[in-house]
Symmetry: C2
Subunit: 586 residues, 2 copies
């Protein structure tokens, strides 16, 4: 037996017990005839004490040579500590060791195994197995486990069946790029890895499975932006015989359960809801962060025709009001904000401010065009009071909204209004069914080609497709899209019409999705679903921005796992078996 | 709202409630002014009744045109049935419908959606979404869900963390063939899909995760035998600071929990254990079916040197005893058994029988060589009594054992001794570390290259490697290997020695598994684990032999999904992006 207890388990009531502990040496202190060892495992740290006379000189000698991260096993008696350590759960006791065995020595780690490490990103990834030893990283993955468990408990409780859908499926050019898998048994043919189990979960609804879910790996061969992974995990869900309202209720329930169960954070009341159109109008984003207010106010009426050409020529003049911070924003800070919005990623031409001074007067960067009375109208429109700071952007509508969204979020950050432990969910509803792509000059599905148009907009499908709204919804928490879904098409005719709108020929639609359209003819129930980004949900629950440290073995931004060194070349025989040649580099 | 209740939910206490049900039309009966509909969903069947006067003529007309598998929604009042149906849970009530809506019509299914269908395998696979509507298939997948849930509950309860390991890993030529995934970002390089998360779970032990598990998809590009799938699911587990005994106890606990929780079958007492050597000697198999006895008995001593050349020249003469069936085995049945063992797959030269007659005499197919006294010695050796049938095979040791294993299982089948609802687990222990491969003239790892030799056999590693036993174990239930695992090597030196024994050059070992050997130098704890074949476990629990119907969307024996038609060719642009050409067929 290698241990009787873990290093986080023993309490004062265990005094006098003979125990065996195993773990890693966190640190040792040597006071001559007395050696202390902090022994660590996943569960905690227990203090070991070796004293001359209680153990052999050989063991003391071995103990003196222990390095950090050595793996040892210790036998001894639990005793009450003279000076207790209230900071750790085992702090009342220590083990007076009589035996000790080195199970495995350890080289000096390339970075310190501490909560705050001196290791850089590259080194941590190469030695990920050491990085995972650090408490913060391990705790992230423990959180991930607990979240997954809670998801499954809730779904099971609500009659959802977890069904594994296949990983080796078929490549469909719609959407992002597929990873493909060459077939050895069928020369020149390929499987593809799923970007989502979408069609399979719909088929399960046709099969009468009624309620399906799956925590499932999905794959996208995209150029990786920061914090994207080629493989990622979804909580994938589908329900039959439901309306949008049934789905919102069910997954609002799941979300509340997870916050309560995993974080002990109650989310009281119904989640607020907002149409896509309102989200764009009031926040310039389909994923508004509603932890703080600062809604957009349109100022065209009160700002135009006063001689300020920038505003006069603008399609939209948009203001936000930051409460009570006028005095904090010096010229220097305002200049920095102007610089911020003029960055190429945001691309505003400039920034206009208006301060509501203590004395009731107004100070603006454009006050040569506007009287105090004029400026008061701005302030009134925005509901601004003494001490508030108003920031104004203008230009083409979409562009201005997008820029103002960035400015608003930046102000939220600067003013500490986006707290990691403040959780504000929001349903965004009524997404457009289609979006026009300038480049390819055709419609793309905003959600995916299986999303149902709203019945009341169905008549516009032929005449004004861009105006058609979908029964599609996103769950946004703290400005991040956590989940998205839709009511699906369950009628072959409408599905065909949809593929046609998206530029599929009849043959293409049939070759790629014929099985689904066939299935719709054999008694397909109305159905809909949702999928949550599980990696991102873990990061949100962990109060962090990046998903990478919530994944045990992530890829880097070049799609590489530098620890195992993949991707990498394969043997010529493997290529031959797969009937493949590598193209010469051009 | 599309339903207020499911079709399996309403009982007598709901009488007079107004309800909405939705589902599939199982069947309709039309008695003029009265129409009955059996409405089905995943949860059950509820009888609907439409009567002239209670509903509109239009609805009655629509109801008359309903076909099988139409999807409808019905509104009405729950009433007590006049003639109750005790066979279904809703049999006390029916719904007197006032409204009915056809949500989706259905074409006539290509096979009947009944427990016993007229659909052949190919048709069922092409229309898998309809096949999944059948109760037996859906129930298999419900069982799979419940099993997976129970596994996770147990593992979570026992402090195991479910950690997702990557799907895009690195190809290693050891073991079965990998599926590979070409990289678009790194020309000419590939990922591979994991055959198991072996190295990752070992790294998690090095990381101090202590207890890991995962229900995980694994992949093998093998020529598919019946009932093999290119993608399959494992319950993958690993523990640190454990001996073999700790692992056996933990997973015996899991197994008992699953049988109790999911099947309400208690498996009392400790699971029996048997060494690999004994299993081969007594059953000719490393996965003995111990639901019935018929152990092998070596008969060389009592059968040789009596002039029967076949036995005299045999390395091994082996007998089994089938209790009480001597009279049932006519000449014709014995000839059929002889034919069975002579089939090329089994390859015995012949079969000798001995009947223990009621009158105390013996009848044998070779009695011209043996006296009644001689034959009595056979019977005594086998513990045979009056009425028993003894079957004897002979020849080269391994070959004879293998053939006798087949004969024994066949006898078990013929005599009804292998019942699907009788569960007999067995641990097989002390597997050899290595097996000699005649073809390549080198050792292969019997389990895998990471398995630890038994410490007491370590000294034979250099001198007599074939005799070294491993701390490797299989859990066998009813003659099928359900799980297998081992204590792993956690020492770089031994791991290097192992790779060397397996014919790896130092460079190859380092290129493929350098990260693991490096990890062993940074404080790797002793560890071990096990993996269960989850698909097979589901089939066992479902009392069936084939795993295919416990997988929602399986591939056929050619590795194809005929429903979605994959694998299939991909676009030339996709190939170009991946820097690949298809080789011309030779």
């Amino acid at each position: 037996m290698l241990r009787t207890h873990t290093c986080g388990e023993l309490r004062i009531n265990a005094v006098n017990e003979e125990v065996i502990l195993s773990g890693w040496v966190q640190r040792t202190r040597d006071k001559g005839g007395l050696i202390w060892i902090d022994l660590r495992d996943r569960y905690g740290i227990t203090q070991i004490i070796l004293e001359e006379g209680e153990t052999t000189p050989q063991i003391l000698e071995t103990a003196r040579k222990l390095g950090r991260e050595f793996v040892i096993s210790v036998t001894g008696k639990v005793v009450e500590r003279q000076s207790k350590n209230p900071k750790i759960s085992t702090g009342d006791i220590e083990i007076r060791a009589t035996k000790m065995e080195v199970l495995n020595p350890a080289k000096l780690p390339p970075f310190t195994i501490e909560d705050t490490t001196d290791g850089g990103e590259d080194l941590r990834m190469k030695y990920r197995y050491l990085d995972l030893r650090r408490n913060p990283v391990r705790q992230n993955l423990e959180l991930r486990h607990r979240l997954a468990k809670a998801v499954r408990d809730y779904m099971d409780e609500h009659n959802f069946l977890e069904v594994e859908t296949p990983v080796l499926i078929k490549s469909t050019p719609e959407g992002a790029r597929d990873f493909v898998v060459p077939s050895r048994m069928h020369a020149g043919e390929f499987y593809a890895l799923p970007q989502s189990p979408q069609t399979f979960k719909q088929l399960l609804m046709v099969s009468g499975f009624d309620r399906y879910f799956q925590l499932v790996k999905c794959f996208r061969d995209e150029d990786l932006r920061a914090d994207r992974q080629p493989e990622f995990t979804q909580i994938d869900c589908e329900m039959a015989f439901v309306t949008q309202e049934d789905i919102l209720q069910t997954f609002e329930g799941l979300t509340k359960y997870l916050f309560e169960k995993v974080l002990q954070v109650p989310l009281s009341g119904a989640f607020p809801r907002m149409s896509y159109a309102d989200a764009m109008r009031l926040y310039g984003s389909d994923k508004p962060d509603i932890r703080f207010d600062m809604k957009f106010v349109e100022l065209n009426e009160v700002t135009q025709n006063k001689g300020f050409k920038v505003f006069d020529s603008a399609e939209l003049v948009l203001g936000i009001c930051a409460k009570g911070v006028a005095e904090n924003y010096s010229r220097k800070k305002l200049d920095a904000l102007t610089k911020f919005v003029k960055r190429p990623q945001i691309g505003a031409k400039g920034l206009v401010y208006l301060k509501c001074n203590k004395d009731g007067s107004f100070k603006s960067s454009v006050d040569k065009f506007y009287s105090q009375d004029d400026l008061k109208k701005w302030a009134d429109k925005l509901g601004a009071e003494v001490g508030d700071l108003i920031l104004v952007l203008s230009g083409e509508t979409n562009h201005t909204r997008k820029a103002m969204n960035e400015l608003r979020l930046e102000m939220g950050n600067q003013l500490g209004l986006r707290k990691n432990d403040d959780f504000k969910p929001l349903w965004v509803l009524d997404f457009p069914l289609l979006e026009w792509d300038q480049e390819t000059e055709r419609y793309h599905a905003m959600h995916h080609p299986f999303t149902s148009p709203k019945p009341e907009d169905m008549d516009k499908l032929e005449t004004n497709a861009g105006q058609v709204r979908a029964n599609a919804y996103d769950l946004v928490i703290n400005g991040t899209e956590m989940g998205g879904g839709s009511i699906r098409i369950h009628d072959r005719g409408i599905q065909e019409q949809m593929f046609n709108l998206l530029g599929f020929t009849e043959e293409e639609a049939k070759a790629q999705f014929g099985f689904l359209m066939d299935a719709f003819e054999y008694g397909a129930p109305p159905h809909g679903g949702i999928a949550f980004g599980f990696d991102r949900l873990c990061a949100l629950f962990g109060g962090q921005e990046t998903i990478r440290d919530f994944i045990a073995f992530p890829k880097n931004n070049a799609g590489k796992d530098v620890m195992i060194d993949t991707p990498s070349p394969i043997a010529a025989e493997q290529l031959d078996e797969l009937y493949l040649n590598i193209q010469e580099k051009k």
